[in-house]
Structure formats: C-alpha cells, structure tokens
C-alpha cells in the first residue's frame, strides 16, 4: 500500500523533472470562484466538483484542476513562450464509483508558445512520456482540430456546422443531429406544422418569458432556412465517419487521412498540422511508428481541448483511470481572456496511480 508520503515525494520529483525542462513552479488557491468554472463547463461541473458557499464571496469551488487558474495567472503577463509546472491536490466528486479517489495529487506541465505549435505539442507529450518511461502503459492520441476541420468542410449551412461543432463532445446528440442533417431521420411533424402555420402563435399563451417573441421568431426563421438546406450527402457522411472511426498507428492514420483529404480538402491543413506534430514527436525521441491514433479520442470528457489530445493508460490495471492526460486548449484561453487567445498545451500526471502501477510489477 502506498503512503501519502510516497505520493508527495513522487509528486515533488515529477515537478522537479518538469522544472528542469524550464517550467516555472506555480501554485493555485484551493478555493476558486465557482462562477468562472460554471460558465466554462456548465452544469456538468456541479456533478464533478465540490461547490460550497462563502458568506461574502458567494459560490466557491474546491479546485477541480489547475488549468483554469494557471491560464488566468498567465494572462496577467502574456509573456511568451512560458512554461509552468505545479503539484497539488484536486478535488472531484465521485457520484458513480466510490472506489475512485475524490482527492488526489496532480502534477502538471503547461506550455504557452505560439511560435511553434507542433513543437509545443510534442514537447508536452514527450515530457509525460519520459516521466512514465519503462512502465507498462499504453498511450492513445487524437486530434480534435482534425474533427472540427472536417465538420467545417462539410457542404452544408453554417448553422448546421455550428450545431455539429457545438455537440462534438456529446456523441449521442451529435449523431442524432447528423442523422437529421443527412436526411436519415424525418423532420418532426411538430416542426412541419409550425412552419406551415399562417400564425404560429395562434392559440398559444401570452408571452411570459425572458426569451422574447423576437427570439422565438428568430428560431422559426432559422428552422425555415434549415428546412430549405439540402441534406448532407452520403459520401461526405462516410468520410466523416471514416475519420471518427480511425484506430491505427500514426503512420497508417497519416496515409488514410491523405486519401480522405483528396475528397474532403478542408482537412488538408489539419492533416499537415498532424504531420508536423508527428515529425516533432519523432525528433523528441517518441516512437511514432508505434503511436496509436484514434479519430474519436477525447470526444467524451475533454470538452475544453480543441487540438492534440492524449492519454496514458495502464496495460495491467485496466480498472485504473488514465495515469496521465493532456492536450491543446487554445479555445479555453480565448474564453478566459475575453477573446484574446494564447496557444496553450498541457498535461497532468497522477503520482498515486504511477505508484499503484509500479506496485503491481
């Protein structure tokens, strides 16, 4: 059984390793204002983080991760390039699995560098890779940027693209929207009737809501436009499904994507980004020929990542959560910086899980 001292000791060693790479050691308050986090992550965060109240400051949250406070701190200076490392406890409610820890140490490494995007991606991956060297772990990688490029390249209306992009992280809703846009599910009767009505408001109650009549009318107009939009073709759908279904080593994925890009030229830029990242990974000593790439990786619970994504998992203890996870989150910085984005990529590693894996050897 690992002790808290062992975990803290390992955390310190990991942080020192990241500091050697140039990471400035930083800290963050345990108590974070809830508003920022709630606005970013929505209601789901309440199920995952401890929300409590302060008599004067209102709702506050026990730090569920370091990313947001570190980005906020970085935005006080915007100095670039910047590298940060930290180590400390994070707190997560576990509503469904009592065996998962609700308080654990995370050691992180974050790189803010707009000059060399591919290099920064590779640097973070390599840093984590080195920290877990020799352990029986497998890694998986993905690229949310490739998916957004593919969706943005579909021959359909901007409204439909926006709806799909918004639900990229909710695979079920994404699929049902895509099915409708592809004409695979019929338009609901309610909607057909609404669009055919001379006065859509006939018989309805008086307006009582902050969502005003003009907003309702705007949506009806949007539905009218949508009804006139031709269905997304089967070919394009197949290309999108092919990208989402990719599960191969990086070289095989690169070759598949170059084929797909012939029919879906909108992904060409994303494919080049992936190629540059692959080169950068190789120059950092990563065995890219064996590296796994999954088209749908990062779609279920990594909403703030929007580019490179990756995770490391135990091959002997499948019951353990990922030992390390990371990715690029430029869009998050745009939201926190009121529109001013900084290219950012980072990862966290859990020393408690590292020790658990080592213990089983």
């Amino acid at each position: 059984m690992t002790t808290t001292e062992q975990i803290l000791c390992r955390a310190e060693a990991l942080r020192a390793q990241f500091a050697d790479l140039g990471g400035q050691v930083v800290n963050a308050d345990v108590l974070q204002p809830a508003e920022t986090l709630l606005d970013l992550y929505g209601e789901d965060i309440r199920a995952r983080a401890y929300v409590t109240s302060d008599p004067l400051r209102g709702e506050i949250m026990l730090r569920p991760d370091f990313t947001v406070p570190v980005v906020q701190m970085h935005m006080e200076t915007f100095a670039e390039p910047a590298r940060y490392t930290y180590s400390g406890a994070v707190y997560r409610k576990q509503e469904h699995d009592a065996s998962r820890a609700n308080e654990y140490i995370q050691v992180g490494y974050e790189v803010f560098d707009g000059q060399d995007i591919a290099g920064a991606d590779a640097e973070v991956f390599a840093a984590i890779s080195k920290a877990v060297e020799g352990l029986p772990l497998r890694s998986a990688t993905g690229d949310i940027g490739l998916l957004t490029a593919a969706i943005s390249g579909l021959k359909t209306s901007d409204a439909r693209k926006a709806a799909l992009l918004r639900h990229l992280w909710r695979p079920r809703r994404f699929k049902s929207l895509l099915d409708r846009f592809c004409g695979r599910t019929p338009t609901p009767k309610f909607r057909t009737k609404l669009l055919a009505a001379d006065d859509p408001f006939e018989g309805a109650w008086a307006d009582i809501s902050l969502r005003s009549r003009s907003e309702v009318n705007a949506r009806i107009e949007a539905l009218r436009d949508d009804a006139k939009t031709p269905a997304i073709g089967a070919e394009e759908r197949d290309l999108l499904d092919a990208i989402l279904g990719l599960q191969e080593t990086l070289p095989n994925v690169m070759s598949a994507l170059r084929d797909i890009a012939v029919d879906l030229p909108a992904i060409a830029g994303a494919v080049e980004t992936l190629a540059r990242r692959t080169e950068a990974l190789a120059s950092h000593g990563v065995d890219v020929n064996a590296l796994r790439f999954e088209g749908s990786y990062g779609r279920t619970n990594m909403e703030y990542y929007d580019g490179f994504v990756f995770g490391f998992y135990s091959t002997v203890r499948a019951d353990l959560p990922p030992i390390a996870t990371g990715g690029r989150y430029d869009a998050l910085t745009a939201q926190l910086g009121a529109g001013r984005a900084v290219p950012a990529v980072g990862a966290v590693i859990r020393p408690d899980l590292l020790l658990a894996v080592e213990e089983g050897l």
Binding site: E95, H167, R173, S176, P188, L210, R213, E215, V216
Partner: protein
C-alpha cells in the same frame, strides 16, 4: 433485532400506505394519540413501524437506520447517488403517482422537444450572456437526464416551491418539476416537452442494501414478503 419499516408520517401518503398493507393482511396504525409519531404493526411479528418524513426515508434506508421504507421513487433517485446500489425496489404500490417533467412557456411555439430546447438554449446564451435557467428542486435527476440527452448551455436554479411561477417572474426560463394532472402548469402558461418525461414516480416499498442484517431480520423479511404476496 426487529425489522424497521419507515412510512411517511402524515397525509394521504400515510393513509394510502396503511390501506395498501391492510389489504394484504398487515395492519399498520399510529399508536397513542393522533399527534404522536409512534406506530404499531399487527399481523406479523418482528416488524417495527417508524413514522418519518417521506423525504428523509431514502437517506435513512441508505444509512441502514431503517430496513424497509415507503417513499416516492422520484425521491430515491434524487436523494441517493447510484440509488440502485443502495436500495432495492420491492414493490411499486400503485398510488402517489406523479411525473417529473420538463416544461417550457407555451409561448415558445418553436420548442416541442429536448432538441428544440437545446437549440433555444444555445441562442439564448449568446443573446443574453448567460445560460438558460431551469428552475427545479430535483437537481441530480434533471442534470443526469439532460446530460444523457446531450442538452447544453443550460443551468439549474434552485426552487423549493411555487416553481411554476419562476418563468413569469423571470427568474427562470423553464422548469423541471413533479406534476400529476398538469393543471398548475397550464394555469401558469407552461407546456410539457413531448419527450420531457424524466421519471414516472409512484409510492414504492424499498429495502436497504445493507449487508449487516441479522438472520432473524432476513427471515422476517421473507415472511413479510410472503404475507404481502410480493
């Protein structure tokens, strides 16, 4: 050790529970004066009646302070995380029916389904700068439902009563609440989404999933189940 049976301490829920057991040969009654919260059980040995608030029954069952309990299935789902790992449904009792639903203003003629609600929420957030508010006291049930259904850009605001009025008062844009006839909803200009049923609730007899029951308690439960025919 007796088997403790928790029953709602007042109102129609208590009366109907007494009737339900009575019809099946087990008499539950309040002992002493009408105001006293003590009870007695006839027709079976080893069962003790505990009268308490229906909303506390899920917690008491999970903690093992009572072994059996009658309460709404909605309350169990709302109050207990992973409810089915903590309690077991022994018998739905056929009364106390009410639906936990999502309702929107009737004047939102463009919104009929969760897909519409989600689209409206996205537009609302960009127009107003905050997430569309849904008033409820059933936070866990609503959040889990909307997560499973892939609805985004909403927030839950707490409302412990008169929830139907929050839309008109502009403290919420939609509600999630219990309704049996829908009368109050209509009177407040609200309409249920066609796929907005979160849970059809009814009074249900539950047992706790504690492993520390004595052999005597297990035997008593078997006897009770055979008397009740469940």
């Amino acid at each position: 050790m007796t088997l403790k049976l928790g029953v709602p301490s007042k109102g129609r829920l208590m009366e109907k529970t007494f009737d339900w057991f009575g019809k099946r040969g087990v008499t539950l009654r309040k002992s002493g004066s009408d105001r006293e919260y003590a009870g007695a059980v006839d027709g079976i040995d080893g069962v003790e009646l505990v009268l308490l608030s229906a909303s506390e029954i899920p917690r008491e069952l999970a903690a093992g302070r009572i072994h059996l309990g009658v309460t709404g299935s909605d309350l169990v789902r709302e109050r207990l995380a992973n409810w089915d790992s903590q309690v077991v449904e022994l018998a739905p009792m056929g009364f106390g029916g009410a639906d936990l639903i999502i309702a929107v203003p009737d004047c939102w003629v463009d919104v009929d389904t969760l897909e519409d609600l989600d689209a409206a929420a996205a537009a609302f957030r960009s127009a107003h700068g905050f997430r569309l508010r849904i008033a409820t006291k059933y936070h866990r049930s609503v959040r889990e439902f909307l997560k499973a259904e892939g609805v985004a850009d909403y927030q839950l605001v707490d409302s412990q009563g008169a929830t139907e009025g929050t839309v008109k008062n502009e403290t919420a844009e939609a509600i999630a609440d219990i309704t049996s006839t829908g009368e109050t909803l209509r009177a407040n200009g609200l309409r249920i989404l066609s796929d907005g049923l979160i849970h059809a609730s009814q009074a249900t007899l539950f047992r706790g999933r504690r492993r520390d029951w004595t052999d005597g308690q297990r035997v008593t439960l078997k006897e009770l189940q055979s008397v009740l025919g469940i």
